[in-house]
């Protein structure tokens, strides 16, 4: 099962991609992008009222939700967001303490996973290199990010080798045509947020990269 674990719809202030257009795109590009579902990880927010079941049913694509928050170690994806988490942390605060986020989210039944670790300023690698103590309790990092520039994803492997983090992938799409270009292949069936959290806590997944075949298809068109 393949899920894009990192995507932003137009609910994020820097995205212009309506959710339904993502779904139409994935439906149309099924041969190139065999994505079974996406996880919306809007920036610095959580909308408890969002309900996408009718879109899921219509397009046959799983839609799960998480959030992307900002800390002194860079950006962190939270999967399995609960009301307890949103009471504990102000997701709009760009000064969250990473260690607290990782520890507390885990305690509350979720997973907090640093994203685009190789990115300057907002990625984990730079902060470790600067001498900050390694975060305790990190189970996985986004090893493959579709929005990364040359060299940024490559920096992450050393981090994984050193600390034994699980590695997953996500498109980090802010534009419709970028949805699903990087994703995560799970060995197990992941049909719910709870199942996603459980899967991430295990290691039966890996990042998958569709960028080359998308580029090739564009070149052939």
């Amino acid at each position: 099962m393949i899920l894009d674990l990192h995507a932003h719809s137009d609910a994020s202030e820097d995205s212009r991609a309506p959710l339904e257009t993502y779904l139409k795109w994935l439906q149309r590009k099924r041969d190139l992008l065999p994505i079974d579902g996406i996880v919306l990880t809007e920036h610095r927010q959580w909308n408890p009222a969002a309900d996408y079941r009718s879109l899921e049913d219509h397009y046959g694509i799983l839609i799960l939700r998480g959030a992307e928050v900002e800390t002194e170690y860079g950006h962190i994806l939270i999967y399995g967001v609960t009301d307890e988490m949103t009471r504990r942390f102000d997701f709009a605060n760009v000064r969250l303490t990473a260690q607290e986020v990782v520890r507390e989210v885990a305690r509350m039944g979720g997973v907090a996973a640093p994203c685009h670790p190789g990115r300057p300023t907002i990625g984990l690698c730079e902060h470790y290199a600067a001498g900050k103590p390694p975060l305790e309790g990190v189970v996985a990092v986004e090893a493959l990010n579709g929005g990364s520039r040359r060299g940024e994803n490559e920096r992450v492997q050393a981090l994984i080798d050193t600390y034994g983090y699980g590695a997953f992938g996500g498109s980090d799409a802010h534009l419709v045509s970028l949805i699903g270009i990087c994703a995560t292949e799970f060995d197990d069936d992941v049909r719910s947020t709870e199942a996603l959290v459980a899967a991430l806590q295990g290691r039966r997944y890996r990042p998958v990269d569709f960028r080359e075949q998308v580029r090739a298809a564009r070149g052939a068109a």
């Binding site: 900002e70 950006h75 000064r95 907002i122």
Partner: protein, 141 residues
């Protein structure tokens, strides 16, 4: 790390300007300025309406409030507009633009921390119909 941003000015109205009645010449000049060829927007006559973007050319008395927090940053640039277009503008319409500080938020990116201020300008006509709602973002650092 920097101090949290002061959001006390959010919601504050900082400009309210009512403009002289729109004339057909105003509309035609605006359309001509960017080479508009659609007859409905560029040909004099009873069916003339302003191009949808006409209200963006209006300039109130203040672009931003005088009491904007000073710690937002030394540098600022235009970070784009979100525009919702309402009813058409016709010759004789009297437009009023009301500007408020709609939002202030922070984010971090590859190049560091940024603060965004969103100035919302609501343009209405003399019938109180919405002509446009313009969210102008400015990024400070």
């Amino acid at each position: 790390m920097s101090v949290p941003v002061d959001r006390s000015v959010v919601g504050q109205e900082f400009d309210r300007t009512t403009f002289p009645p729109v004339t057909a010449d105003d509309i035609l000049a605006y359309a001509a300025a960017y080479g508009e060829t659609d007859a409905g927007w560029s040909r004099p006559g009873p069916d003339l309406t302003a191009p949808p973007t006409f209200s963006f050319s209006l300039r109130g008395s203040h672009f931003m409030p005088k009491n904007l927090p000073t710690h937002l940053g030394r540098h600022a640039f235009d970070a784009g507009k979100d525009i919702e277009i309402g009813v058409a503008v016709r010759p004789g319409d009297v437009l009023t633009a009301v500007s408020t500080v709609h939002d202030i938020y922070e984010k971090t990116g590859r190049t560091g921390a940024m603060t965004f201020v969103v100035f919302r300008t609501a343009v209405t006509n003399e019938r109180d119909e919405t002509v446009a709602v313009i969210d102008q973002k400015m990024m400070f650092r």
